[in-house]
């Protein structure tokens, strides 16, 4: 997997995991050490509206950790690609 994010297994970040489970190209593993890993061989893309995140949580959504390169982190779209 070339791109992944780690999500602390807590309720405020749960929409990231729920959303990722619906995506055909992503794989969710864990929990391990309190984190879930959302991974993809190509890219990850999330929509703030789809996640239902308020801005304060949206802009901290990657606080668990990141492997990859953020190509877009706008008010509504987060896209991460391989470094």
């Amino acid at each position: 997997m070339n791109v992944c994010i780690f999500v602390l297994d807590v309720e405020e970040f749960a929409p990231l995991v729920l959303c990722a489970r619906q995506m055909p190209t992503t794989e969710v593993t864990g929990p391990c050490q309190g984190y879930l890993r959302i991974a993809s061989s190509s890219h990850l893309e999330f929509s703030r509206k789809q996640l239902g995140f308020k801005p304060a949580v949206w802009y901290g959504a990657l606080t668990g950790g990141l492997v990859g390169h953020i190509v877009e982190f706008s008010r509504d779209t987060l896209r991460i690609e391989a470094t």
Partner: protein, 203 residues
């Protein structure tokens, strides 16, 4: 065992008071006591000491759960320029956040503040708290917050990872690597590398 290790644990037991200067005595008392409803519970009036210290009033309002918010009024002085509020995150970063026990209490506080002519800056939900923000007559930022869930050991472990990453990046920058810690992505990538290694080790 060193002398330090022989000392018994002495945990800090919450906030007694925090204090700040005011040059608006009446407005401060009327705001905290009358508009917010925080009881005035103690006041000191004294000659200035040691030498050079102006005569002063030092007074305390009860902010619940054993805590107070306190002020100094330095008689015959004027507020220095460098203590005037300025519109910046650097200024509002120093603030007081009081806790309420129910989410619905925030709505009641909104109504109370608005009825008293206090401008609310905004209400927002963060990761584990939801808060309203406003300022006192001195310009000091205040927050009333409801904690949405308890902080767990997972939060503490994650905080440790975040701050270890941040401190290492700060060290690197201080050591001359001007590319280190240029944005928050550096922290996220550092944590990501550490956790990715952990993931590999378990498979």
């Amino acid at each position: 065992m060193s002398q330090l290790e022989k000392l018994p644990p002495t945990p800090i037991h919450g906030v007694h008071h925090t204090a700040r200067p005011t040059w608006k005595l009446r407005e401060t008392v009327e705001f905290y006591r009358d508009k917010l409803g925080l009881p005035l519970v103690h006041a000191i009036s004294a000659r200035g000491w040691p030498e050079g210290h102006p005569d002063f009033l030092h007074f305390f309002f009860d902010s619940g759960n054993g805590s107070t918010i306190a002020f100094f009024y330095y008689i015959g002085t004027t507020r220095p320029e460098q203590l005037k509020p300025f519109p910046s995150h650097f200024y509002t970063a120093t603030h007081t956040a009081w806790q309420v026990q129910h989410l619905s209490d925030l709505d009641i506080w909104r109504q109370r503040l608005e009825a008293n002519g206090v401008d609310l800056r905004y209400q927002t939900r963060h990761e584990i708290i939801e808060s309203i923000y406003f300022s006192d007559p001195n310009g000091y930022p205040l927050e009333i917050t409801y904690q949405l869930r308890p902080m767990t050991s997972m939060d503490a472990d994650d905080a440790d990872r975040t701050l270890r990453a941040g401190m290492a990046l700060e060290d690197a920058r201080k050591a001359g690597d001007i590319t280190a810690f240029s944005c928050i992505d550096d922290v996220w990538r550092s944590k990501g590398s550490e956790l990715a290694a952990l993931w590999e080790a378990r498979t």
